[in-house]
């Protein structure tokens, strides 16, 4: 073959390849410029709705570090979908939850987002704030589907499509310190210990305690830890040496149990309060159990699963029936709340006869006082603010459902009301 014929062969091959693309399903033809459609009742539909089914995505973590949370959130959302479908669906459409487990691996999380994106209306669950941040530009720029992350970092605020449900960690911490000051004798000039995880969660919570310390004349003794640190002996020793009068912990359940247990053993008798991720009902069965029931409190954006509201009681009964072996924790509440917020937005969008992504986004912006049955009112009208600034204070209690009772009803302190996240 001479160079000439070789060149011809190459050109022919390229031409053939380009000709073939004429039948590619990706090719844009003239008549699908408007890919929206409508159903019999004149409701506009778009991505994520095919026939009579609305598909929602759930990017969860069932095999990684947030496995317990992911499992509870997902099972609660599946329960919600099942109940909605049993009651006839929304707008005459059935809901379908498409779940992908990313195991807290950035590559899998981004891949799963990309995979589901063309087929879903939005995401009712997205665990892992770094991954939400990774796709945020795409959500804002092109996809424009609603994403409800199961992460409460203020860094996620500001997008009209990525909406944090409930108070963010900084606001939660402000309310937690407010509780310590009003009810646990912490006063101006006192020292407050703050043990926090390196990373988004801990650092966001620390912003809250620094802000509150400045406003209320406290000084913060900071102790940064890594998620792999499980023994808090060194931190307790440091806090004791500094002479703290109360401790905030923004870490995981294990660290909280270790901190409270070690503090009790070394006679550091001060109140300890944790963010909502710093407790699991299983802890009460451990050696740290008695110390936890005595000195430990948990700040939470909603009432606990064992609350006395009718919605909570029904959810407990239904969830127990569906998953008799699984623990009832706050993940169930978070998952249920997110799914029902999405459902509420869908209902509003249906009333406005627009079930496209745009329609659902608009519908969510009109929801200003939604209560999924767990005490806190959610207001979604401002994308720059979290949907609520209220925090409930809970106390571990072995006999209660889900291991927690309400110490103080949901409410926002005056500092929290005046606080703007991200400032």
């Amino acid at each position: 073959m001479t160079p000439m014929t070789r060149a011809t062969a190459v050109v022919t091959a390229l031409a053939a390849a380009l000709a073939l693309t004429a039948c590619s399903s990706k090719a844009k033809s003239d008549n699908d410029s408007d890919n929206g459609g409508g159903d019999a009742k004149g409701v506009k539909t778009g991505d994520g709705i095919s026939g009579k089914t609305i598909t929602l995505g759930a990017l969860t973590d069932m095999t990684g570090v947030y496995a317990t949370l992911g499992k509870s959130v997902t099972q609660a959302q599946q329960l919600y979908v099942k109940q909605v479908n049993a009651a006839g669906g929304i707008c005459g459409h059935r809901l379908k939850l498409q779940v992908r487990d990313h195991g807290y691996d950035p590559q899998k999380a981004v891949a799963a987002y990309t995979e589901l994106e063309p087929d879903v209306l939005g995401y009712a669950q997205f665990i892992g704030s770094p991954f939400v941040a990774a796709v945020k530009d795409r959500v804002d720029g092109q996809d424009k589907g609603l994403v409800l992350p199961q992460a409460w970092s203020a860094n996620l605020l500001g997008s009209p499509y990525v909406r944090v449900i409930g108070s963010t960690y900084d606001i939660e911490t402000i309310n937690a310190i407010d509780f310590l000051m009003k009810e646990k004798g912490l006063k101006k000039g006192d020292k407050l210990g703050h043990v926090y995880f390196e990373g988004d969660y801990g650092e966001n919570a620390l912003k809250g305690s620094r802000h509150m310390a400045e406003k209320s004349g406290l000084s913060v003794v900071e102790q940064k830890i890594k998620p792999t640190d499980n023994d808090m002996t060194a931190q307790v020793a440091a806090l004791k040496k500094a002479g703290v009068d109360a401790v905030v912990i923004s870490a995981g359940p294990r660290q909280a149990a270790s901190l409270v247990g070690v503090a009790a053993a070394t006679k550091l008798d001060v109140p300890v309060i944790g963010n909502n991720s710093a407790f699991a009902p299983q802890l009460l069965g451990t050696q740290a159990g008695p110390a936890l029931t005595k000195n430990y409190y948990v700040a939470s954006p909603t009432l606990p699963i064992g609350a006395a509201t009718p919605a909570a009681k029904k959810l407990v009964a239904d969830y127990r029936k569906a998953h008799p072996k699984d623990a009832l924790d706050n993940g169930v509440v978070a998952g249920w709340t997110a799914a029902s917020v999405f459902g509420e937005a869908l209902k509003k969008a249906c009333a406005a006869k627009d079930l496209t992504r745009e329609g659902v986004d608009k519908a969510l912006l009109t929801i200003d006082a939604y209560d999924a049955g767990f005490g806190a009112r959610q207001n979604f009208t401002d994308p720059k603010a979290p949907s609520s600034k209220e925090t409930a204070i809970l106390k571990p209690d072995k006999s209660a459902t889900g291991g927690m009772t309400v110490e103080r009803e949901p409410g926002a302190s005056k500092e929290a009301r005046a606080y703007t996240p991200g400032s």
């Binding site: 390849a17 004429a22 590619s24 033809s29 487990d101 990313h102 195991g103 899998k108 891949a111 941040a133």
Partner: protein, 396 residues
């Protein structure tokens, strides 16, 4: 460690060795030292075109070039992850496979490349950024990774095998600490946005460019960039491995003292290959960052380093094709298993109890690694290498 038969060490001392072949893909038998008189280029090309392998290459290339016109973004993205992984794997294969130097710090150099690119190219997002043209930033990021490798080379040149592995382990921990805490530079735990690459007026971002009626987003455009980079990296590494440096590296791996006696400057070669491998990792990091569109510190941990080691063990130590094959298997398998978890009946739907798809994909991945190590000790590439061939072990 000796995956390659000793034919390599039989070759004469470096000085009188034939020069590295200049052509792109010389017939294998032309690689025989000195004895064969080289035919002219035209003849070589003719022999080349007579072989079915040439047509397989041509068909493969056309297929790869056409894929962006058909595949979804998911597949293109998965392919791009695999290409980036392949570049990184080629790099670590030069170090671990060809030279026998174990490195656990590959993820660190990937991070240097990825974050280096962001810092050089980034501008106006509240973080430190130099705002350089993005192509320059990409080149500088690769050089930066090389420089980081160079800084480590006094250690890399002196330590061998598992000892270097332990030393490089430190890099991972230092790297993670810096990534999480140097907030102004790295954006902390939420990472920082990656500016899209711009080359000759073409920007690899999500603005749609319609080519032959197919809208091209970032994944489609990057696909071609990835192919070019992978091809370039593959050919360069192949050249290194087949030429004099490659023989020196293999000699160091197989018998360090003998290599030294033959006149190979052992420490210098070790340090040099460490720098080269870091630059490959840096380039892989840049490409990964461009695909992710955001760099997150969680990614560049211990697991990533282990994955790269798994890639070269599965693919085949010391060969470029092996590294590429291993990289594709290791980075695609988990994604495929997650995607098709519902169709595979051995797993239950997420949330219903039983084995979750994520777990199942890990089991299968583990089983694949064990199976390859048990039944294909030379890696995937040994399947291809079983065909009769004049010089065994020349596969590179």
């Amino acid at each position: 460690m000796s995956e390659v038969p000793v034919s390599e060490t039989r070759s004469p001392s470096g000085r009188r060795h034939p020069k590295r072949p200049r052509r792109l893909m010389p017939p294998r038998r032309l690689m025989r030292p000195r004895a064969v008189k080289r035919p002219s280029g035209r003849v070589a090309a003719r022999t080349f075109l007579k072989r079915p392998r040439a047509y397989a290459w041509a068909a493969g290339s056309v297929l790869l070039l056409a894929l962006p016109f058909y595949l979804d973004r998911f597949w293109l993205q998965a392919g791009l992850f695999a290409m980036a992984a392949a570049i990184g794997a080629i790099g670590i294969n030069l170090l671990t496979g060809a030279t026998g130097q174990l490195s656990m710090g590959h993820a660190f150099f990937l991070a240097v490349g990825a974050y280096g690119y962001c810092v050089f190219a980034g501008e106006g997002d509240g973080l430190t950024g130099l705002g350089l043209p993005t192509w320059l930033a990409a080149v500088l990021a690769v050089l930066l990774a090389g420089a980081a490798g160079g800084l480590f080379s006094p250690i890399a040149g002196r330590l061998r095998g598992a000892y270097l592995g332990i030393a490089t382990l430190a890099l991972i921990f230092i790297g993670q600490h810096v990534l999480f805490n140097a907030g102004d530079l790295t954006g902390g735990s939420n990472g920082r946005a990656v500016p899209p690459l711009s080359l000759f007026g073409l920007t690899f971002d999500d603005r749609e460019v319609v080519v032959a009626a197919v809208p091209f987003g970032s994944a489609e455009k990057l696909w071609y960039a990835g192919l070019v980079l992978l091809l370039g990296c593959g050919l360069f590494a192949r050249g290194v491995l087949r030429g004099r440096p490659g023989r020196a590296l293999n000699a160091i791996r197989d018998h360090r003292v003998a290599a030294g006696v033959l006149g190979v400057p052992v420490a210098r070669y070790r340090a040099g290959v460490f720098v080269l491998s870091s630059m490959y990792a840096g380039l892989a990091g840049v490409l990964l960052a461009l695909v992710f569109q955001r760099t997150v510190p969680d990614y560049f941990g211990m697991t990533l380093s282990l994955e790269y080691l798994a890639m070269i063990v599965i693919g085949g130590l010391g060969s470029v094709a092996g590294a590429v094959a291993g990289a594709f298997l290791v980075s695609l398998l988990p994604q495929l298993l997650t995607r098709y978890s519902e169709a595979l009946h051995l797993v239950s739907a997420p949330g219903t109890g039983g084995i979750a798809p994520g777990e199942a994909s890990r089991y299968l991945y583990g089983a694949a690694v064990v199976a390859v190590v048990l039944f294909l000790p030379g890696g995937l590439i040994s399947v291809a290498a079983r065909r009769p061939r004049s010089i065994p072990g020349e596969e590179a």
